[in-house]
Structures are given as C-alpha cells and as structure tokens.
C-alpha cells in the first residue's frame, strides 16, 4: 500500500517522523482519515487521539490536546499543542485536568463569547483525554 511521510511535532520536540499508510486525525469538525495522495488541506484539531496504521494494523496511538495539521499528497505535518502516547496517559492526571477545565469554564460564564468558547474547547479536550486514558 502507498505510504506517506507523517510528522508529529510539539513545541518541545519532534515526536514522530516516518512513513505510514494511514493516519486518523481528530479534526475540529470530525475525524479525518488520511491516506497517501490526499488533497492539500490545513485543518485545526480538537483534543483527541491520532491513530497511525501500517499494514492494516494500528501501530501507534497518540493523544493531542489540540493543534493544526497540514495535509499534502505526500506528507502530513501535525503541529500538536501537546502530545502524549496513549499508553502513558494516566487516568488521574486526565481527570484532574478535566476538573480544572470545568472550573475554568464555570468561572468564564460572564466573559466574552470568545473566552467562553476557548474554555469550552479546553473542557472538550480534557474529556477526550479522560476517554483515551480509560480506553488505554
């Protein structure tokens, strides 16, 4: 099967750079499965799990808290705000983060719509993290 170059970078380091067959990306408006030869796209990400497939098998799963992805026919670059392999996620960490995000959202109730939206995005991202941690 044709493959493409997948790169996953966080501000602090380059996490992944290798040829893969398929990647499922948690785009802001729904999961996005990318194969080689995909039309060029730039998408925003929400919190969720990126799964990498090679040879019909899921070989890697990483949780990202948000970010961007640039899709080109021969490569995909993911700029993650923060990325952790799903296997190393801890449930208690994720739950603490969810509690924090929910508290921030509650206190942002009287703020501008943009701020409320940002807080909501944090809550959703934390929820996705808890789910990923439970599934791992």
């Amino acid at each position: 099967m044709a493959s493409f170059q997948l790169e996953l970078v966080s501000p602090e380091k380059l996490l992944l750079s290798r040829a893969v067959e398929m990647a499922v990306i948690p785009a802001a408006e729904g999961e996005l499965g990318v194969l080689a030869g995909h039309a060029p796209m730039i998408v925003a990400l929400r919190g969720g799990v990126i799964s990498v497939r090679e040879g019909g098998q899921v070989t890697d799963q990483l949780f990202v808290a948000g970010g961007f992805a640039e899709v080109a026919p021969d490569r995909v670059t993911i700029l993650a705000d923060e990325a952790t392999p799903v296997a190393t996620l801890s449930k208690s960490d994720a739950e603490r983060r969810l509690a924090e995000a929910e508290a921030a959202f509650a206190s942002a109730a009287n703020e501008t719509p943009e701020k409320r939206e940002a807080a909501m995005a944090r809550v959703l991202s934390a929820r996705a993290m808890v789910e990923a941690a439970l599934a791992a």
Partner: protein
C-alpha cells in the same frame, strides 16, 4: 612591602576564588549543552509553523477584516518592547548588551515622538532598564525559580501580550533578546512580533489548500500559537546564550586567577628570601663585631 603572612592569606583567597569560578564554568558548560539540545528540539515545530503561516497568511493579509495580530492596528504610535534577559549575573556582558540595545531603541523611538512601553522577562533586564525608564514599565516577568523553561512559560508571556493587544494598548510589538550564534558570540536583536512579519511562501507553495474550518478561524488560533513559539524560541536562545556567556566569563576569571596566583607566589618567595638574607647579614655582622 607586604608581610609574608598577608601574602599567604591573599594567595589562599585567590585560590579559593579560582576553585569557585572553575566549578561555575563546569556547571555552565553542562547546562549549556542541555539548553542547546532543548533549543534544537524546538526548531522543527517553529519551521513547520512558519511554512503553514506562509501558505495561510498570504491569502488573508489583503482582506479588510484581517486579524489585528497579523496586520497590526494600522497605527504606528505606541511601541511595546519585550526585553528578554537572564535571571542572574556573572556572565560577562550578556545582560548589559541587551540592556544597552534596548536603551538605544527606546531613545530612538522616543526621538521620533512615539510612546514606548516596556515589558521585561528576566530579572536583570528589569534592574538595568528601571534606572532610566521606570515610568515606561508595564510589566515584569521573571522565571527565577524555574529550573527549565517550558513552552507554557512562553505561553504566559504571549497571553499577556495578546491581552494588551485586545485592549488596544499598543500598535507595534518588538521582542529584544540575545540571539545565540555560538558559544562565544551572542548578539542582541530586535524582532518584530506584531504586526506579524509573514515568511516568504516557498517556491512550491503553488498548492491550493482547503481549510477546515475557515481560513479566518484557523488563523485566529494559529497566530497566538505562533506568537508563543517565537517567544519560546527567544527564551531558549536567551538561556543557551546565558550559559555560553557565563562559561566564557568564568573561563576568563579562572585564567586571571591563575595569573594572579603566579604573581603573588613570586612576590611571596622574593619576600621570603629577602627576609632570610637580612637575617643572615644580621647574624654575620653580629659575629664580626665580637
């Protein structure tokens, strides 16, 4: 002529100073290596961010409702300078160079009749610039108790800048820091943050991207992130430069202490011999007088 005892004391004190500077040099060298690796690890993200911004920004920049962070407020009246320095001294001219550069910038801008506001990151810059420009200060950030600079620290700085931009507190924002060229040379530079200077789109940038959600929404999220990454880069350069500069300074200090010890030891030996000769003469002339 100083007494033998005082010379001995001085030699001992210079020796212990040399021990300290030598140890500091060693520590700085180890930390420098760590800071350099960290700076290198951050590079891929910045490069790819630049590429994405180039393909995205070009299409939005002409639009009438382009975000302020990209095109600025349109005015050029109030300048915000973000000055990044180290938290500690004992690093040669590292902090002074940035301070002097910043001071020249402030003077030049004010000579043109612009208003200047200053935010400092790092304790040393604050101390230096407060002497002349205390009235222009709008913020001070210090990471003195942090062992390692993380991206969230940079995000904290960029959040403050974004907040000020939203409040309309400035028109142009410039970041001043020491660019890390190599271990012995760091040069202070001023880098404009807002309006965002767009990187040139690459030659193969002909590909037409689709955007999801809209271009504006992505840009609204990408720009603050880009601001954060630029500041993160400056902080890392600052950290690496600081250790490089400290290492060089401590190396010089160690060498100077060595020279000093040699000189003092020579002096000590001469004095000692002079004393012995004098005592001999006294004994001999005493014996002759009998």
């Amino acid at each position: 002529m100083p007494s033998l005892k005082s010379l001995r004391l001085r030699i001992n004190s210079v020796k212990s100073t040399r021990k300290i500077t030598q140890a500091m040099k060693m520590v700085a060298a180890a930390k420098l290596r760590r800071a350099q690796t960290q700076a290198e690890a951050a590079r891929p993200y910045a490069e790819r961010m630049e590429r994405m911004l180039a393909s995205l920004g070009a299409s939005v920049v002409g639009a009438p409702d382009a975000p302020e962070m990209l095109v600025g407020t349109g005015a050029d009246k109030v300048h915000l300078l973000v000055v990044v320095t180290a938290e500690r001294g004992l690093c040669g001219g590292f902090n002074t160079n940035v301070g002097r550069f910043a001071r020249a910038q402030v003077r030049a801008l004010e000579a043109e009749g612009k208003t200047v506001k200053i935010i400092t990151v790092g304790r040393k810059g604050a101390v230096y610039l407060k002497r002349d420009f205390a009235s222009r200060f709008v913020g001070e950030i210090s990471f003195a108790n942090k062992k390692r600079i993380g991206f969230e620290d940079a995000a904290e700085v960029s959040a403050k800048i974004t907040e000020m931009l939203d409040a309309g507190d400035f028109d142009v924002c410039t970041l001043i820091y020491n660019r890390f060229k190599n271990v012995i040379s760091q040069t202070p530079v001023g880098q404009q943050l807002i309006p965002t200077p767009l990187p040139e789109a690459s030659a193969d940038g002909g590909a037409q991207y689709e955007f999801e959600p809209t271009e504006e929404e992505i840009l609204a999220r990408l720009l603050p992130q880009n601001l954060g990454i630029q500041i993160y880069r400056a902080l890392l350069d600052n950290a690496a430069g600081f250790y490089g500069s400290q290492m060089t300074a401590m190396d010089n200090a160690t060498r100077n202490a060595g020279e000093m010890i040699n000189k003092l030891t020579l002096n000590y030996n001469r004095t000692r011999q002079a004393n012995i000769t004098r005592e001999l003469i006294e004994i001999i002339s005493g014996a002759e007088a009998l």
